[in-house]
C-alpha cells in the first residue's frame, strides 16, 4: 500500500448553491454579504436507539461541501476508516479496524448494496450529491442493523427535500484534465408530497502528462547499444471515464402517521482502467475497460403512532457489469482477449417494528430478505470437441436476517440494550448472534458518556468465493468473530464562543476462518479459510468549533486510528514470517484532519489524511 500522504484538498470556493430560483431577494445588504447565523446549541435527551453504539455521522456540510466528490472521498477525509482507491473513478473500497472491504456492510435506504458476487461495495460509484444522511457503525454497533459487518457498516440514505413549490438547482464542477461534473436537482413539494429528481454526470478524458520514474527510455546507437537513458515524460491516455447517475424520489406523507417513499437510482458507468506505470504496451493498441449499469429501487411505508411504529420496504437491484480487455493485433480491429460479463438480480424485502413501553423500554424487531440471482460469464473458450463454451456460473441464494432487541433505560444516566440476531444464507444458519450494549452518563457537566459493547458476528462467503470458475471453493466456512468495544465521549462548549467534543474508543476483535484468495499450482487463485486475525486498537475523534469574532468561524475536526490487525494463524510453512505481524495492505495507523475558516459566505477548507505504510 502506498501512503496517501499529505493530500491537500483545498475547497477554496465553497459556493454550493450557485443558482437558486424561486427565492425572493431581500435587502441588498445581506443578500450579497450573506447571513452569518450564530452557532446554536441543540440539547436533547439521548435517544434509546443509539444506546451504546459507536457511530460516526456525517452532517450535510461534510457531505455537500464539495459535491464533486464520491462517498469514498468523503470517508477518506472525514473518518478514520481505511479507504483504498486508485484515483478518481476507480475502484474504491472501505474497511474498518483492520478488516477487509468485504467485512463492511453497506446499505442504501435500508437495502444492502454489497455486490453479492464480490462481497464488497465500490464507493467510487456513490456520488455524495445523492446522499443526504450517512453514518458509520463501528464494530459491534453494526449488529443492530445487519449481520456480516465484522468491521462495521455504512448506512447511506436519502430524505425528503423539504421543498415548498418548485425548485431547481444546477451546479457545474470544472477540474483539471478536462474533468467536468454536472449536477442538477429538480424539486417539488407541498404539505403532503415531496418529489425530487437528481442527476449527476461526471466525465474526464483524464489525460495528463507526467514523468514516469518507474521506467526509463532507451537511446540506441546504430549498433543497438544503449547510449543514454532517461525517465520519460508520458501522457496518460487510458483512464477516461463517463459516469451518469439519476435518482428519482417521491415521498408522500399523509400527515396522519403514514409515510410512503419511492427511491430509484440508475447508474451508467464507462471507465477505462489505466495502464500501469510499468506497462510498455502502446496505449493505442490496448483497451482495458469496465462498464456497469445498475438500477436500485426501494419502496417504503412507515406507519407511526405515539408508542409504536411499523414499516415495510421492498426493493430491487439489477446490475450488469462488463469487463473487456482488447488488443489490436495489427489489423486495426480491437480483438477481445478477455470478455467478462455478469448480471445480478436482487429482490429485497424488509419489515420492522418498534414498540415503546413507557419511557424506559423500547422493543424492536426486524426481518430482512435478499434473494440474489447471479450469472457470471467470464471467458469464451473452444472445447476439445471444437464447440464454443463459456466459463462461468449461474447461481441463486436467499439471505435472511432477523433481529429482536430490547432497549432499557432504568434510570436516565444508564442505558442497556440486548440484540439477538439470526441469519440464514442459502441453507446454512448462523448460531444466534448476540450483542450487548451499555452506556452511562459519567458527568452531566461535560456530557461525559461511557459506552461498552460486545457482540458475536458471522460473514458468509460471497458467491464468487463459492462458485467462481476457476477457483471457487464451495467448501469454505463462514468467517466468525467476537468484538468488544469500550469508549468514552464528551462535549463541552460556551454559546457563541466555542464547542468542543471528542471520543476515544478501544476495540478488540478476533476473526476466525478469514477468507483469502491464494494462487494454486494450476495457475489460478482460489479462496481458503486460512487466517485467524486479532484486530484491536483505538479510534479517536475530536471536533472543535470557535467563533472568534462576528462573521468569523473556525473549525477543526480530526480523527486518529491505531488498528493493529495481527495474523494469529498457523505458519503456512516453516519460512512463513507473517504470523504475529500486521496483515499486508492494512495500515496500522490512519488519521485525517479537516480545518475550516469561514468568513461570511466564504470558506477556506484544508483537508489532510494519512495512512501508514504496510
Amino acid at each position: 500500500m502506498k501512503p496517501i500522504c499529505r493530500y491537500i484538498l483545498s475547497t477554496l470556493l465553497s459556493l454550493l448553491p450557485t443558482l437558486m430560483v424561486a427565492q425572493e431577494s431581500g435587502r441588498r445588504d445581506w443578500s450579497t454579504r450573506g447571513i452569518s447565523i450564530p452557532e446554536v446549541t441543540v440539547s436533547a435527551a439521548r435517544t434509546m436507539k443509539d444506546i451504546g453504539t459507536q457511530q460516526t455521522s456525517f452532517d450535510s456540510t461534510t457531505l455537500k461541501e464539495n459535491i464533486a466528490l464520491s462517498m469514498a472521498d468523503v470517508l477518506t477525509y472525514n473518518s478514520s476508516i481505511f479507504v483504498k482507491n486508485y484515483g478518481r473513478a476507480t475502484l474504491s473500497t472501505v474497511a474498518f479496524r483492520g478488516t477487509s472491504p468485504s467485512h463492511t456492510q453497506v446499505s442504501w435506504n435500508g437495502m444492502k448494496i454489497n455486490n453479492p458476487m464480490l462481497g464488497m461495495t465500490d464507493f467510487s460509484m456513490i456520488p455524495s450529491y445523492f446522499i443526504d444522511d450517512a453514518s458509520l457503525l463501528h464494530g459491534t454497533s453494526s449488529v443492530g442493523e445487519t449481520g456480516g459487518g465484522l468491521g462495521g457498516s455504512v448506512k447511506l440514505s436519502t430524505r425528503p427535500a423539504a421543498a415548498r413549490g418548485f425548485g431547481v438547482q444546477y451546479i457545474q464542477g470544472v477540474g483539471s484534465f478536462r474533468t467536468f461534473d454536472e449536477f442538477l436537482r429538480l424539486t417539488y413539494g407541498n404539505k403532503n408530497w415531496q418529489v425530487s429528481t437528481r442527476a449527476v454526470y461526471s466525465s474526464s478524458p483524464n489525460e495528463y502528462k507526467y514523468r514516469n520514474h518507474d521506467k526509463k527510455e532507451n537511446v540506441y546507437d546504430s549498433e543497438m547499444n544503449i547510449i543514454d537513458q532517461y525517465y520519460p515524460i508520458e501522457r496518460n491516455r487510458s483512464g477516461s471515464y463517463k459516469d451518469l447517475h439519476l435518482l428519482q424520489e417521491v415521498y408522500y406523507n399523509t400527515c396522519r402517521g403514514d409515510r410512503f417513499g419511492l427511491n430509484a437510482w440508475y447508474i451508467n458507468s464507462n471507465r477505462e482502467l489505466a495502464m500501469l506505470t510499468t506497462d510498455y504496451g502502446d496505449d493505442t493498441e490496448f483497451d482495458n475497460r469496465q462498464r456497469e449499469q445498475t438500477f436500485r429501487g426501494v419502496l417504503s411505508w412507515d406507519h407511526l403512532r405515539k408508542d409504536w411504529k411499523v414499516g415495510a420496504k421492498a426493493g430491487y437491484i439489477y446490475t450488469w457489469m462488463a469487463y473487456d480487455y482488447k488488443r489490436d493485433p495489427g489489423n486495426g480491429v480491437m480483438t477481445s482477449m478477455t470478455r467478462s460479463r455478469s448480471r445480478v438480480n436482487t429482490f429485497y424485502g424488509r419489515v420492522d417494528g418498534e414498540y415503546y413501553i413507557g419511557e424506559k423500554w423500547l422493543l424492536t424487531a426486524n426481518l430482512t430478505a435478499h434473494q440474489h440471482i447471479v450469472e457470471s460469464r467470464d471467458k469464451n473458450i473452444i472445447r476439445q470437441d471444437g464447440d464454443r463454451a463459456i466459463v462461468g456460473y449461474r447461481k441463486g441464494r436467499i439471505e435472511l436476517s432477523g433481529s429482536v432487541s430490547a432497549k432499557w433505560r432504568p434510570i436516565e444516566p444508564l442505558g442497556i440494550v440486548l440484540v439477538l440476531r439470526e441469519e440464514m444464507f442459502g441453507r446454512e444458519w448462523t448460531p444466534v448472534i448476540p450483542a450487548l450494549f451499555v452506556d452511562g452518563v459519567l458527568s452531566k457537566r461535560g456530557n461525559v458518556v461511557a459506552k461498552a459493547s460486545v457482540s458475536r458476528n458471522f460473514r458468509f462467503p460471497s458467491l464468487n468465493d463459492l462458485y467462481f470458475l476457476p477457483g471457487g471453493n464451495p467448501d469454505l466456512r463462514k468467517e466468525s468473530g467476537w468484538t468488544y468495544d469500550v469508549g468514552v465521549s464528551f462535549a463541552v462548549g460556551r454559546e457563541k464562543l466555542y464547542s468542543l467534543s471528542g471520543s476515544v474508543n478501544w476495540f478488540d476483535s478476533r476473526v476466525k476462518d478469514w477468507i483469502i484468495w491464494l494462487p494454486t499450482p494450476k495457475g489460478f487463485f482460489s479462496p481458503e479459510n486460512v487466517k485467524d486475525v486479532h484486530a484491536y486498537g483505538v479510534e479517536m475523534k475530536a471536533d472543535l468549533e470557535v467563533t472568534p469574532a462576528t462573521d468569523w468561524n473556525l473549525s477543526l475536526n480530526g480523527t486518529f486510528s491505531w488498528t493493529p490487525s495481527i495474523n494469529c494463524g498457523e505458519p503456512r510453512t516453516p519460512a512463513d514470517k507473517s504470523v504475529g505481524k500486521q496483515l499486508p495492505y492494512v495500515p496500522e495507523f490512519s488519521s485525517s484532519v479537516t480545518g475550516r475558516i469561514g468568513w461570511r459566505r466564504w470558506t477556506f477548507t484544508y483537508k489532510w489524511c494519512y495512512y501508514s505504510e504496510r
Partner: protein, 357 residues
Amino acid sequence: MKGRGLIGWLMVGVLMMSTSCMKWEYGLEEEFDTSTSAEGLFICNEGNFQYGNSTLSYYDPITESVQNEVFYRANAMKLGDVAQSMTIRDGKGWVVVNNSHVVFAIDINTFREVGRITNLTSPRYMHFVSDTKAYITQLWDNRIFIVDPSRYQVTGYIECPGMTMESGSTEQMVQYGKYVYVNCWSYQNRILKIDTETDQVVDELVVGIQPTSLALDCNGKLWTLTDGGYEGSPYGHEAPSLYRIDAESFTIEQQFRFRFGDAPSEVQLNGTRDRLYWINRDIWEMDVTADRAPVRPFLPDNGTIYYGLTVCPRTGDVYIADAIDYVQPGMIYRYSREGKLLDEFYVGITPGAFSWK
C-alpha cells in the same frame, strides 16, 4: 476591502501548499560485477498481478550469497508486473515480464539493461533459434511472436491453429533439430511443432488437458506434464499425466497417470538431461528411461505449495521456490542431489522461474 485582501492571501497560501507536496523516490544505479563467479542463478519473482512489484534475484551457489532486487538496483527503474521467465544466451539475460508487455535484455554480470523488446501481447517464454531469430510465446494471443534479438524488434508471427485471441495460450519451447515444440496450456491440450525454417506450425499432438511445461531429454524425448484442468471446467477435468513423446516421430511413447485431483507442474531436467524432476505437492525424481513413475518422492512436501523448481546443471543440486502466502518474500531451498538441505534464502514475492548463468 480587508476581507478581499485576506481572501487573496489565502489563495496564494493554497497555491504554495499545493506545490510543495510532491515527493519522488529516485533510485540510484548500483554497480554490480559478477563476472568472476563461476556460476550464478537468477530467480524471477513474479510479485502480485497488477501491483508492478516483480523483482529479480541473483544467487551465487559458490559463496551462498543472494542479492535481491538486482534489476531495480542496477537500473534505477522497476522490473514491472509479473516476471514470468528468463532465458540466457551469450552473456545476455532475457527477462520476460508478462503484464508489462516487455522483454528486457540485461548484462548477466552487471544486471544493467542492454535493450528491450516491446509490442508484445502477453509474453510468457522466449526461445532462441539463432542470434537473429527468437520466438516469444503469448497468453491471450493465437500467435507466437518472432523477434530479432539483435535489433530488439518484432519481425513476424506464427499463427497457431485452433485458437482465438481469447483462448490463445502458448508456453514453453524446446528445440529438436530444426523443429521447435511448444506446449499449449490454458484451455488447450496440444503440443505444436514449428518448422524454424518456414516459421509455421507443421504438426500438432493432442495430449491431456492443459500441458503446463515441456522438456527435452538426452535421448530426444519430449516430456510434458498436464494439470488435468479443474472441477467445473467446460473444457473438461481429468487425472493429470506425465507424457513421454518421441520428438522424431512426434508420437506419445508413454503416459504416466497421476491421481485425479493432483496438480503436477514444472517438469525439469538435470544438467546431463537424464534425470527428470517435477512438483506434485512433493518433489519427484525419475530416470528418463524409467517405465514406471516413482512411488516415493525425492523430497516430501513440508506443508507448502511449491511454486518453482530447477536443477543446477553442474552439481545436480535441486532448488525449490516456496511462495509461502504469495504476499511476503518467498524462500528458496537448495538441496543436494541426495536430498540434503544445503542452503535456504529469502528472495522476492512469489518466486516462480529460474535461469542458470
